[in-house]
Every structure is written in structure tokens, then in C-alpha cells.
Assembly symmetry: C2
Homo-oligomer: 259 residues x 2
């Protein structure tokens, strides 16, 4: 199988760098083909701007989504964007690996999402009507592919627990797992999270890489997070609200997975 690792850490000798190298070897040893988008090494341009559409006319206003739509449809995207889209099309599974900074991705990775996820490619796909609201949340260009986050944090695991002060890790990662990965159609695997990175020693690194290795071995058999598909009947369209008879009265991010 083909695996794309999108990796966002500035220091090759870091824990993240070691875990990325470990993943590449583990996957290759299992016979998979691996490509790495090492965003810092690539000097990835993070901000969305008019240069992302090589056909943008300087005298006209830049419109992030309409310029993206035009560029994707007409082959006028900047080369770096098109290259990443090709990697996504090639991949059977995608791993986003990053340190959790301020409860989200590092800016350079957010800029990969903002720029590569073009209109017509990752959103604005499919029919939008009173019966369907596009091919999204379980359908879309990434349907049939798997995705998983590999995330490191400096905090304690209890701080990210169900009643932890940082908020539950599943809620913190919901905008990424559900909003970035499930939205364009990925089957999203439970994240692999390493906490308290400053307390890493050799023994703990061995344990951690061993656990990561098992997750990589099971990349094609792990049960995805059972997020509800938008167009499979659980939601009222076009309002996009969960049907009243499903988990009546319940709210929050957790209602969007089958419990």
C-alpha cells in the first residue's frame, strides 16, 4: 500500500523526527511504499494568498475559495499545491504527524491544509441541493483512504482526559479528525498521542515506538472512528442537524459518532 506522512517539526533530531523515521522504516519493512512531506525541509509556504492561483489577475480582488476553485479547475494552481494533491491521490493512507502547539497543528501544517485542500478537491465537491449538501463527511475525494494523526504533547495525559483542564483530547482534535480528515472522505483512525514529551527517556521511547509500530501494523485493520456520514440518513438536509430521534437532547462533538 502507499502511505503519505505529512510531517511538521522544525528539528530532525527531535522526538517527532525519531518517531517519523521509525514509522517510515516500519512501514517500508512491511512492504509498503512511503512518501514523506517534510514541511519544514520543503520550506512549505504557509499562508494562503493570491500567488496560489497563477492565473490571478492583480487588478482583481483575491477571493480564497473562488480563486482556489478557478485554479483547481483550470490547472493554474501553484506547483507546490498540485504536487501535494498528487501525493494525496496516490496514497492509500495518510498520516499527519505533528507536535500539538496551542491545542492545534503548527502553523506550517495548517498552511498545508489551507492551501492543498482546494475548492473542488477537498470541498465544494458534489451536488449541493435540498437533498444533498455536497460529498462531504464520509464522501468526497478521499473516500476509501484511511488517515491517522500522530501527535505529541508536552502536558500530562490527565490534563487531556475526559475531565482534564485542557479539554478532552478527542474534543481538541475534533476540528482536525472530523473537520479536516472526515470531511473530504477519509476513514479516520483513532489518533496516536504521546503526552509529556519532556519526560522521554530510552525505555519510554522504546515503549512508545513499539506501540506506534503496532498501530502502523494495524493501519488497514483498525476500526475507524464511527463518525456519521452526512448523506446516509442521520442528518436533516440542508440544515445539517442530527435527526431529533437520534440521541435526543444530546449535544457536543460526541453525537457525531455512532455510540
Amino acid at each position: 500500500m502507499n502511505v503519505l506522512i505529512v510531517y511538521a517539526h522544525p528539528e530532525p533530531t527531535s522526538l517527532n523526527g525519531a518517531l517519523k523515521d521509525f514509522s517510515v522504516k516500519r512501514l517500508e519493512d512491511a512492504g509498503h511504499t512511503v512518501r514523506v512531506s517534510d514541511l519544514y525541509a520543503m520550506k512549505w509556504k504557509a499562508p494562503v494568498d493570491a500567488s496560489d492561483n497563477t492565473d490571478h489577475q492583480p487588478e482583481t480582488a483575491f477571493h480564497a475559495s473562488l480563486d482556489s476553485k478557478h485554479a483547481y479547475a483550470n490547472g493554474t494552481q501553484s506547483d507546490d499545491i498540485a504536487a501535494e494533491q498528487e501525493k494525496l491521490k496516490w496514497a492509500d493512507a495518510v498520516i499527519l504527524q505533528f507536535p500539538l502547539w496551542w491545542f492545534s497543528m503548527p502553523a506550517i501544517l495548517k498552511g498545508w491544509v489551507d492551501r492543498v485542500y482546494a475548492y473542488g478537491f477537498a470541498y465544494g465537491v458534489g451536488e449541493h441541493s435540498d437533498e444533498r449538501w455536497g460529498d462531504r463527511y464520509g464522501e468526497g475525494s478521499m473516500a476509501g483512504k484511511r488517515a491517522m494523526l500522530v501527535v505529541t504533547t508536552g502536558g500530562w495525559d490527565t490534563h487531556y482526559g475526559p475531565r482534564g483542564i485542557n479539554g478532552p483530547i478527542d474534543d481538541i482534535l475534533f476540528p482536525i479528525n472530523h473537520g479536516v480528515l472526515f470531511y473530504p472522505g477519509f476513514d479516520v483512525l483513532p489518533p496516536f498521542v504521546v503526552h509529556r514529551t519532556s519526560k522521554m527517556d530510552e525505555a519510554r521511547f522504546a515503549q512508545t515506538s513499539d506501540a506506534l509500530g503496532r498501530r502502523l501494523d494495524e493501519l488497514w485493520s483498525t476500526r475507524p472512528i464511527p463518525y456519521r456520514r452526512q448523506n446516509a440518513g442521520d442528518y436533516v438536509i440542508p440544515e445539517g442537524t442530527l435527526r431529533e430521534d437520534i440521541l435526543p437532547g444530546r449535544t457536543g462533538t460526541a453525537v457525531h459518532a455512532v455510540m
Copy 2:
């Protein structure tokens, strides 16, 4: 009062640009002093890297938090970071204004947070022991200041409602409101959110800017989101978990505000 608007949109003639200009005028007309960090106009560097610490030695590994700590403590931060920190110290209130892209901030704004929020300034502040876990979540360098998000989205408001398919807007913004703003001590006001931006016309813009204007008029009287302070007794320290007798059995982001 002094108001800092940190603004992240690539196009001055956009809805975001118009709302930002409106806010500046409204606040200045009310006698406040306003500064704007227009990140695109400033060509803000988004990625954290070794150049953020001008004293970084090329032969040593770059460590995002330890380099940040050293640079903040020794005055060797890059000038752009130090300038933004001065603006934050100067401000009585801070507004972060941005379009919601992929359920979070644009990369350029995330890069402002990642770089300006230095170790010793926004985190790693105060005593860390078995009784206190730093001056954070209600205490810290931003204590006594107010903050508010002004956010635009392309989606329907129902998609962001309590049972909307995107997830509730309060959950989507929790990593920012609680994790980026409350963490270093801001009193966080309820966000001002504009949905369905592609359906904006003159009448709706008038309504929207009028509503935003009222929020700006009430910047110093609006009741902040009643997030629980870490060191005020509601949490078990150092585990950082909500005391068992508070909202027993409840989980999710909402337990971190007083209901």
C-alpha cells in the same frame, strides 16, 4: 482604553476587511486607541523555527520551547516577536479577527500564536508544584485584559449549532477561546460569529456591522465566558482534573465553564 486587533485576511476589500475597518472606526469614535496587526500586510512569518531565537547556535538542535524560553529571558527574540508582545502588554483588550478555515485559524494567525506566545510570556509562567500548575487558565501575563474572537464562516449557522454536523461552534472554538486566550489569563468574551458569508448583501452587512458595533460598545461590560480558574479550587492539582464533586460524571468542553 487600548485595543489591539490581530487581523488575518489576505484581501483588504473582503468582508473581513470591511468589518475590521468598521471596528477600528467604531472603537476610535468611542475614544479608544486602536492598533492593528494586519498579518498579511506585515508579511508575518508563520512557521516557528531557529531564527526566532537570534542567539540560537547552528550546531545545536533547535528546541521550540527551550529556545523560546532562552530568547524571551535573554532578549534574543527576533524583533517581530518582541514587537507583538509589546502590543499585547500595551493592550487592555485584544480582538482576533479571522475567517474560519478548516475549523480553525488561518495558518498565518496560528503562526502568530505559535511564535508570539513565548515560554515565560504565555506559558511556563509561575510556580509549578504539587499545589499550583503555573499561572495559567485565568492567571498569567494577560490577566486583567479582555479578548474576543470575531470570526466569519461560509457555512450555515445550523451546521454549527448544538447538533449541527460541523460540531457546535463553541466546541470548535474551544481550543482558541480556552486554550489560546484563557490559558495566558485573558477574560474571554463570547465570540462574534458571522455565518454564510457568501450570502452577504448591503442590508445584511448593515445588520452585521450594527451587531458588531454593539459588541464593541460593550467590550468592557460584557460578561466573560465563565471558564473555571485552574488555581481557584475546582481542579485537582497536579493532575489537572475537575474535582469529582463538580458536575459529577459529566465530560466534554462545557464542564470547564461554570454553568
